[in-house]
Each structure stands twice: as structure tokens, then as C-alpha cells.
Amino acid sequence: MTFTLLLLAVLILGSAAAAALRPNLIHSALLLVVSWLGVAGFYLWAGAEFVAFAQVLVYVGALSMVVLFAVLLTRQSRAELRVDAPAARRVVWAVLAGAAVGGVIGAAVLGTNWGPVAPSAPEVTVRGLGLQLMGAHGAALLVLGALLTSALLGAVVLAAPDRPRKEEGS
């Protein structure tokens, strides 16, 4: 079990590091997808089947496309896909920002009162998860739904042409 976790950690961190270091943006995006797959594998390792598949569906299936489309739509040519080594200032700022995020998350993890460990792992079914989501966290789910719907409508409004196009002949 620990060995599997170690392998997964190497996969997640290794592909993430490679994604940050590759000069080619498309390679970075695809390596990021490998990292997300590793996270899904970690969820599977931890016994959270549903979360793992949802992670694959959302991150590997959908978010990867958003990233790739964004890269392709913002670069004019293949030459622009190359990312040169950043200047020292940017490296310093990147490390500082990363350390800040890490600090906040680490403080949150350390500050949490975990409580006593359950004697046996609880059996989590999809049904139980659904009931939890719709019951106790129903309001949050609705807010998220409204947020995503408004984002979708915004995208439609942005993408729609201002004027109706002229009808083609025939």
C-alpha cells in the first residue's frame, strides 16, 4: 500500500515538475494531464472511487481541453509555443507565491482538529454521497449550479455574433 502511494506521489510530483520545466507549452499541458491522472489514481488508492472518476471526467476530459484550447488560441505560431527560461525576478516571485499558497494550505492542515480515527474505514457509496450532496450541502450545490450556468450563459453571449448574419442565397 505504501509502495503504491510512493509510486503515485512520484508520478504526480514528477509530471508536475516536468510540466513546469518543459519549454514547450503543449507538452506542459499534456504533462499536467498526467499529473491530474495521478491525483485520480491517488483517490482510487484512498478508496474514493466516485471522486476519482469525477476527477478524470472533469479534469482529464474537460479542463485539459480548456487549457489546450487556451494555449492554441493565444499563440500565433509554433515558435511562440516555446517558453524561454524566465528572468530571475519572475523565478523569485513564483517561488514566493508558491510558498505562500503552500503556507496557507499547510497552516490549514496543521490547524485542523482531526478527531479520533474511526476504527474501520467507512463504506462510502455513490448513493450516500448523493444524499449528502443533495441534503446537507444542497445550498452549496445550488449556488455552484447557478454560478456555472451564468458562466455558460456569459460564454454564449460573448461568442454569439452581434448582428444576425445575412441569409445565404438559395
Partner: protein, 401 residues
């Protein structure tokens, strides 16, 4: 593996399990689960590999007969060895890689595509005892595994370093993403009514016969029939089959994102397409056509896997028939069809299924009301949406023809 529900089990029903146990019985106890899993994988690969081979032959033969020509008939009896000749040809052809291509991604794209398209078979219940992996969230797993095909298509288009490949890959991605939404939304009613994401329990929910002779398959309910049709249309588009095969459109678009592929890599793309088609058809059988269940009680002696295979083959032949019948759509027609027609209909069908589930207790004349309302909720939006969307576009007048 689910416990047997029916008391008398014929020897044929048990045959695959007995064969597996006979092989794994030769090994020490601690190795048996591994050998069993490997055997299941080998059986799936061999079975669907052969099905792929003969599906290509059946497609060529049937297309040939529909177009009033014999089809391949020279290799072996009635052309029966044609798939193997095709395989040898694909293996011995030169594997061309463009000079500026990204060699690693160019190689990985077909490999990832085939690997991913095989994953879906793991959760399909092929028979009463035949499901490779029993998962609580099997339906979600199936569609999560399918989403990675989009990445492979992008890799193929981008790594070829060819503007036609890249443009075609973006076009194919737009199609795959657009049709994934109706595909998933068409499945949700089944999950809603059966209350489970497990494929074996969805099949179990469709067991039995209403009035003693009508199978309780989902396709025989109004929402199920609509869901089945919507699912199959979206599945046609997801597996790049005609009339939605414009990502490859070999006659107009020089095979799209496959432009720079040749030899066995090209064959791998087609293998993945057929695997995807088989997996989606198997899912349709599981979700709507009662899975491995027999259509009538007195036919129960025929083993369950034979029924699954028969239903799967009927759907696959339907795919081929549609390819021979319908012309290819244009990209704008394809997009309009997905977003303005399929997505609204699938959402309405979800509401319809919810109503069906809520009125499950109705009996007597109320039963008639239930059916009438559900049928109206299927037919009404279909007619209204279809009429509205096609207004002004049909009938078309060809001035120069």
C-alpha cells in the same frame, strides 16, 4: 460477480466460469485471482479483436450489397480471410512520420486512443456472471474512460505538424465535446429511475416481464425509448460514425487528423473507432435493452451472454445500415443539431423520467394517464423543436440541379 438469481442454471450459462476455473485451478491458490483477471482481459481482447476484424468485413460486405456490388470476396471463402489480409497489409506498409512532427506525441496518440477505448469494456456485464470489474460507480467510470479519447485526437492533430491535421483535430474536438453532453444527459434518466450507477444493478432492474410477456426493458417506456434514440444518435457522433463522420471525411478532408498517419498507426485509429462503437453499443444494450436478459421467459434456456451478443450485433449492424443510408452532415448542421435539438430534448427527457419515477404507484386508469402524459412529453417537444429548427431550411430547392 452477482449471485445467481434464478434457481436452475444450465450448463451453458456456467460454461465461461467453468472454463476459467479449469485453467486457474492448475495454479496455486494465491495466484488464482491474478490468473483469473488476466484470463478475463485476454478473453475481452480476443473477443473484441475478432469482433473488430469481422465487423470491418461485415461492413464492407453489407455496404457492398447495399450499393449493388459484391464487396470483398477473393480472400478465403466469401472473403472470410480479408481482415487478416488487411492486417498483414497494415503491418507491412511504410510508417511515415513528417519531418517536423513531434515524434513522441505522434507515436503516443494512436496507442493512447486504443488503450483508452478498451477501458470501457471492463464494466459491461456481458452475461449473468460475466463482468470483468464490479464497480459501484461503473457508469461514471465508463464515461470518464471515454473522455480521454479527446486528448488522443488533439495529440494526433497537433503532433503531425500539418495545418490540415490541426484544424481537423479542433473540428473533431468540437464535435466530441458537443455530443458528450447529450450522451451523458441521455444516460442520467436511467440512473435516476434505477437509483444506481452500477451496470449489473441497472441490468437487474430490467429483469422480469410486465403482463407476463412484455420485457421490463427501459426501451419499452416512453422516456426509455426517447433516451435510447438520443443515446444512439449521440453515440454515432461520439464514435465518428456516418452521418457524423466529418472529422475523417476521407473524400473531402483528406481524413482529417489522420492525414499524416499511415500503416499500422492508421489501422490503430480505426481499431479504436470500432472498439468505441462496440463499447457504446454495449452500454446502450446494458442501459436500455435489458442487458443480458432474454426477451421472453420461454427463451431463458439460451445463455445470457448469447442474448447480449445478439443485441450488440443488432445495434452494430444498425450502425452499418445508417452509414449506408445517410449522407454526411456539414459542421454547422452538426453543431446546431447537438446544441439546439439533442441537448434540450435530453433535458426534457430527464424531467419526463422523473415524472415516470414519481408516478410508479399509479394503477388502473391512472396508468393510461401516466402513459399518455409521458408519450406526449416525448413526442410534443420532438415535433415542435424539429418543426421550428427546420423551418425555412426544408424543402430545399436546387436551382442548378
Amino acid at each position: 460477480m452477482i449471485p445467481a438469481a434464478l434457481p436452475p442454471e444450465s450448463w451453458l450459462e456456467q460454461a465461461p466460469l467453468l472454463a476459467r476455473d479449469a485453467v486457474t485451478g492448475l495454479l496455486p491458490q494465491s495466484w488464482r485471482w491474478l490468473a483469473g483477471s488476466l484470463l478475463e482481459i485476454a478473453a475481452l481482447l480476443a473477443g473484441f479483436g475478432l469482433l473488430f476484424a469481422y465487423l470491418t468485413l461485415a461492413e464492407r460486405k453489407i455496404l457492398g450489397r447495399i450499393q449493388n456490388r459484391p464487396g470483398p470476396n477473393r480472400t478465403g471463402w466469401f472473403g472470410l480471410l480479408q481482415p487478416f489480409a488487411d492486417g498483414v497489409k497494415a503491418l507491412t506498409k511504410e510508417d511515415l512520420i513528417p519531418d517536423g512532427a513531434d515524434r513522441v506525441l505522434h507515436f503516443l496518440a494512436p496507442v493512447v486512443l486504443v488503450a483508452v477505448s478498451l477501458l470501457g469494456f471492463a464494466v459491461l456485464p456481458f452475461g449473468r456472471h460475466l463482468v470483468a470489474v464490479e464497480l459501484d460507480a461503473a457508469v461514471l467510470y465508463f464515461f470518464a474512460a471515454g473522455t480521454a479519447t479527446e486528448l488522443a485526437v488533439f495529440m494526433a492533430g497537433w503532433a503531425s505538424r500539418n495545418k490540415y491535421s490541426l484544424l481537423a483535430a479542433m473540428r473533431a474536438l468540437a464535435q466530441l465535446i458537443s455530443y458528450e453532453l447529450p450522451l451523458l444527459l441521455a444516460v442520467v434518466p436511467v440512473v435516476l429511475v434505477t437509483g444506481t450507477l452500477s451496470t449489473t444493478r441497472i441490468v437487474a432492474a430490467q429483469a422480469g416481464w410486465a403482463h407476463g410477456f412484455i420485457p421490463r426493458w427501459h426501451v419499452f417506456t416512453p422516456w426509455g425509448a426517447a433516451g435510447f434514440c438520443l443515446f444512439m444518435v449521440a453515440a454515432l457522433a461520439e464514435s465518428n460514425r456516418s452521418p457524423f463522420d466529418l472529422p475523417e471525411a476521407e473524400s473531402e478532408l483528406i481524413a482529417g487528423h489522420l492525414t499524416e498517419y499511415s500503416g499500422f498507426k492508421y489501422a490503430l485509429f480505426f481499431m479504436a473507432e470500432y472498439f468505441g462503437m462496440c463499447a457504446l453499443s454495449g452500454m446502450a444494450v446494458t442501459l436500455f435493452l435489458g442487458g443480458w436478459g432474454a426477451p421472453a421467459a420461454f427463451l431463458g434456456w439460451i445463455p445470457s451472454y448469447a442474448w447480449f451478443t445478439a443485441k450488440l450485433l443488432v445495434l452494430l449492424l444498425g450502425f452499418i445500415w445508417i452509414r449506408a443510408t445517410l449522407p454526411r452532415l456539414r459542421l454547422d448542421q452538426l453543431m446546431r443539431f447537438a446544441w439546439k435539438f439533442l441537448v434540450p430534448l435530453t433535458v426534457l427527457n430527464l424531467a419526463n423520467a422523473a415524472g415516470w419515477a414519481l408516478t410508479a404507484g399509479w394503477t388502473g386508469p391512472l396508468q393510461l394517464v401516466r402513459w399518455a402524459v409521458a408519450l406526449a412529453a416525448v413526442v410534443g417537444p420532438f415535433v415542435v423543436l424539429g418543426r421550428t429548427l427546420s423551418a425555412g431550411t426544408a424543402p430545399r430547392i436546387y436551382r442548378y440541379a
